[in-house]
């Protein structure tokens, strides 16, 4: 088993070995993709991409597309992720006409994906984790554990805490290896 999914080849191999596995996208990653498909050029100016220190640009979007192609037809989100994407997009992105173009475009993509719902009482069985990570992150972890799906995140905290429990891909590690060509 490939334990650390630290480059595109390992992700491809993981997918080959687990043909039924889906990929759950974390909120930041989903925003990178959705903003990118609407307007790649906007990424480097977008406050949601710069304020978090990640400074995602077109090349990050292209890399993300490569990863998503490995899981084509097998992308999963949770209602909590969708709610975060909706609020952040409305508060921090475009206004007026552009917002009215953005949502129809992203809906075209979201329609292709699956949603996994977990009741909040189930999430609250992991009360301490919910307090530490929030409902959204724990909905992702619960889905991954329940269904055996992989996770793509850029949150180091989430990655390091659950690395031994679920298949979790750190987008930051992939960026280091694939864009900057550095690995140990």
């Amino acid at each position: 088993m490939v334990k650390y999914l630290s480059d595109i080849n390992k992700i491809g191999y993981y997918r080959f070995r687990h043909p039924e596995a889906c990929l759950i996208l974390d909120t930041n990653i989903l925003l990178l993709f959705l903003i990118g498909i609407y307007d790649k050029g906007y990424l480097k100016y977008c406050p949601l991409m710069t304020d978090n220190g990640k400074n995602y640009t077109e090349e990050h979007f292209d890399l993300l597309e490569k990863i998503l192609k490995i899981f084509i037809g097998r992308i999963v989100i949770t209602p909590q992720i969708l709610a975060e994407v909706n609020s952040l997009s409305r508060i921090r992105l475009f206004k007026g006409k552009k917002l009215n173009e953005y949502f129809p475009r992203i809906i075209q993509e979201i329609e292709k994906w699956e949603e996994n719902y977990i009741h909040f009482r189930t999430l609250l069985k992991e009360r301490e984790q919910v307090i530490q990570f929030g409902f959204t992150d724990i909905s992702i972890i619960a889905t991954a554990k329940d269904k055996g799906y992989a996770i793509l995140t850029d949150e180091l905290d989430l990655y390091r805490n659950f690395l031994e429990q679920v298949a979790i891909i750190s987008f930051s590690t992939i960026v280091a290896y694939e864009l900057h060509k550095v690995g140990m």
Partner: protein, 89 residues
């Protein structure tokens, strides 16, 4: 003069190796984050390395995360524990 990304990461790794006491062993080093910070002459790199810190006994193993700030010229400016949110509280 700007260093290559590989040289930047190696600067972090060398710094870590230099300050690690001989009684400790580090293994399974991984690059967790490699992010440019700032631009022009103020450009720096934020590198996060993780590794297994093996104590006196093999079972006494702990995964540690260190964050390095490195100039574009490859000089390590700082290194600190990358604490998880829980540890930071």
């Amino acid at each position: 003069m700007s260093k290559t990304p590989r040289e930047i990461v190696l600067a972090a790794y060398k710094y870590l190796a230099d300050i690690t006491p001989p009684t400790q062993k580090i293994s399974e080093v991984r690059i967790e984050e490699f992010v440019p910070v700032g631009s022009g002459i103020k450009k720096k790199w934020m590198v996060v390395l993780s590794y297994d810190n093996i104590g006196e006994f093999p079972f006494d193993k702990k995964r540690e995360y260190k964050e390095f700030e490195i100039t574009d010229g490859g000089e390590v400016v700082s290194m600190k524990d990358k604490k998880s949110r829980k540890e930071s509280e």
